[in-house]
């Protein structure tokens, strides 16, 4: 169980660094969505299924869709 925790936290750190490094904003949104989904698994391991459910619905669903809608109205690549 400790090993699973370590794997998830390392994945979260790598995702956070990748979001900051990438210049393609659409890729950044997809990486952020993966980050949120893994965060939801971490909440489930920490015995808070309520927060996990809300995190999966809001973070991976609605936030991702709203960011993509904004990218559709503006530019895809960071200058």
């Amino acid at each position: 169980m400790v090993l699973l925790n370590v794997i998830i936290i390392v994945f979260l750190i790598l995702c956070a660094i990748a979001v900051e490094k990438t210049k393609d904003l659409l890729s950044a949104v997809v990486i952020l969505s993966a980050y949120t989904l893994m965060m939801s698994v971490l909440w489930l391991i920490l015995h808070t299924p309520d927060v996990a459910l809300t995190e999966a619905a809001i973070g991976a669903g609605v936030t991702c869709i709203l960011f993509i809608a904004v990218i559709m109205r503006t530019e895809r690549y960071e200058r």
Binding site: A52, L53, T54, G61, L66, A69, V70, R73
Partner: protein, 142 residues
């Protein structure tokens, strides 16, 4: 998007997403989840419909007027249930002492008025998400 596969899968999967959202809302007081999470699921299914079938067809299904009534109705349901408590016992959102039936603990029909509050929150959150997305999509670029 004019892809036959995406349209067929969307038509197939949307009722199940909405059914799961209704399940999460109605079981909000006995299991994880509640009005906010279930309403977000229903709102996301409507956003998926807009993404696949276009803004015009989605406007026919869930127009701005319907969204106005849903948002105002959800919050009015919540506030009026709270006002019942003020009238009977003197404090806002009084549950069991105001005469709501308590039911068997653990079953769906228990907890007094909490399921009704969850229904109000769910309606409001779902219509808020779809209104937000429609506003972002159809607004003109300056």
């Amino acid at each position: 998007m004019n892809d036959i596969i995406i349209k067929s899968i969307t038509r197939l999967i949307i009722p199940f997403i909405q059914l799961y959202g209704v399940y999460i809302i109605l079981h909000g007081h006995v299991s994880p989840g509640g009005g906010f999470a279930g309403g977000a699921m229903i709102g996301t299914s409507l956003v998926l419909y807009t993404l696949v079938f276009g803004i015009d067809k989605s406007k026919q299904k869930f127009s701005h007027r319907v969204s106005e009534y849903a948002e105002s109705g959800g919050i009015l349901l919540y506030v009026s249930l709270g006002l019942i408590g003020i009238v009977i016992t003197g404090s806002f959102l009084t549950n069991i002492e105001a005469g709501f039936p308590i039911g068997n603990p653990g079953s769906v029909l228990s907890g007094g008025m909490i399921p009704l509050l969850m229904v109000g929150i769910g309606i409001k959150v779902a219509s808020t998400f779809i209104t937000l997305f429609h506003t972002l999509i159809e607004e003109e670029v300056v």
